[in-house]
Amino acid sequence: MAVSSAQTNGQSRRAHEPHVSSPAQLIGIFAALLALTGVTVAAAEFPFGDLDVYVALAIAGVKAFLVAAYFMHLKYDHPLNAVLLVFSIVLVVLFLGVTLSDTTQLAPEVQAAAEASAASP
């Protein structure tokens, strides 16, 4: 026995009472997901202009939250798991945002070259 007592840190204490989702909860979440899928398909018809990316992402975000919180038990798990997921998404947004802003800054240069090569094929 390497280390004396079992209680090492908060991590294992919380796992004593694992969350069992009830059938009603499962069906409820599934119904909500289907509804939101319908909403997002319907929303695609409305002419939001360049807003529709953000509308689609928002609806997808809600669906993702439902799956993560209930189907993946994040609500009932050790908060560290949720922190990990949220932080990874923050990193993705950072990576996407900066790369996108740099690429759009350089777009005129690419545009000029495209016109020049189109002008003299």
């Binding site: 079992a6 991590q11 069992v20 398909v41 993702a64 560290l80 990576f95 690419v110």
Partner: protein
């Protein structure tokens, strides 16, 4: 809830020692480690797909018109059906985790089989879509033969490059998921899982839900553009 009560009288969760690895104190410690390990792996999956979402954003912002009329070539109906199929597989997977927690072996086997069936159906629909695109020539940039072909370079091809990269990588993860759930099915038929030891079911379930999560974002971004 009855199920909750029934659980508490049953054997203390994770008291079953047969599957406890020697270097862990208690089964709880092993369960907590497995969950944390899987969540860390899921974080690597999120960042793995992030590269494709960045490429999507960059190409969409650079050529918005290409994305609008190329996405019109996709069949939104099939995309929606696939989304429903995958959500259903997520439901049956979550139910399988519930069954393993309560020791309902028959329910576990049923749910796992349903999940695999839904996954195979998803791949079937994907196969139909890919065959249709192959036939029409809507392939990635260098092979693109579709309507806007012939420009100096086929910009429409860059939409389909992003499409095939995203859905291709996602399909690979679906196939890996089918293999993992198949392994779970074999072990559950052997009766390995009980309320005291259901970690593999829970962990593979997390992976499967993440694959569904990725599709939840892929569907609107690819099919519902413009």
């Amino acid at each position: 809830m009855i199920a909750e009560a029934q659980l508490s009288q049953g054997p203390a969760p994770h008291a079953d020692e047969t599957f406890r690895a020697h270097h862990f104190e208690t089964a709880e410690q092993q369960f907590a480690a497995a969950k944390l390990g899987m969540w860390l792996f899921l974080v690597t999956e999120v960042l793995f797909f992030s590269g494709l979402f960045v490429a999507y954003a960059v190409f969409r912002v650079l050529h918005p018109e290409v994305f609008v009329n190329s996405a019109a070539l996709l069949d939104t109906k099939l995309g929606a059906i696939n989304t429903v199929i995958l959500l259903f597989s997520s439901l049956t997977m979550a139910w399988a985790v519930r069954c393993s927690q309560l020791g309902q072996q028959r329910g576990l086997v049923l749910c796992l089989s349903l999940t695999i069936a839904a996954a195979v159906a998803f791949l079937g629909v994907k196969g139909i879509e890919y065959a249709h695109k192959w036939h029409e020539g809507h392939l990635w940039a260098s092979q693109y033969g579709g309507p806007q072909a012939g420009e100096t370079f086929d910009r429409a091809g860059s939409f389909f490059s992003v499409y095939f990269a995203m859905t291709g990588l996602h399909a690979v993860h679906i196939i890996a998921g089918i293999a993992a759930i198949g392994w779970l099915l074999k072990r559950s038929l052997r009766g390995d899982f009980s309320p005291a030891y259901y970690t593999p079911v829970d962990v593979v379930g997390l992976y499967w839900h993440l694959v569904d999560l990725v599709w939840i974002f892929l569907f609107p971004l690819l099919y519902l553009v413009g």
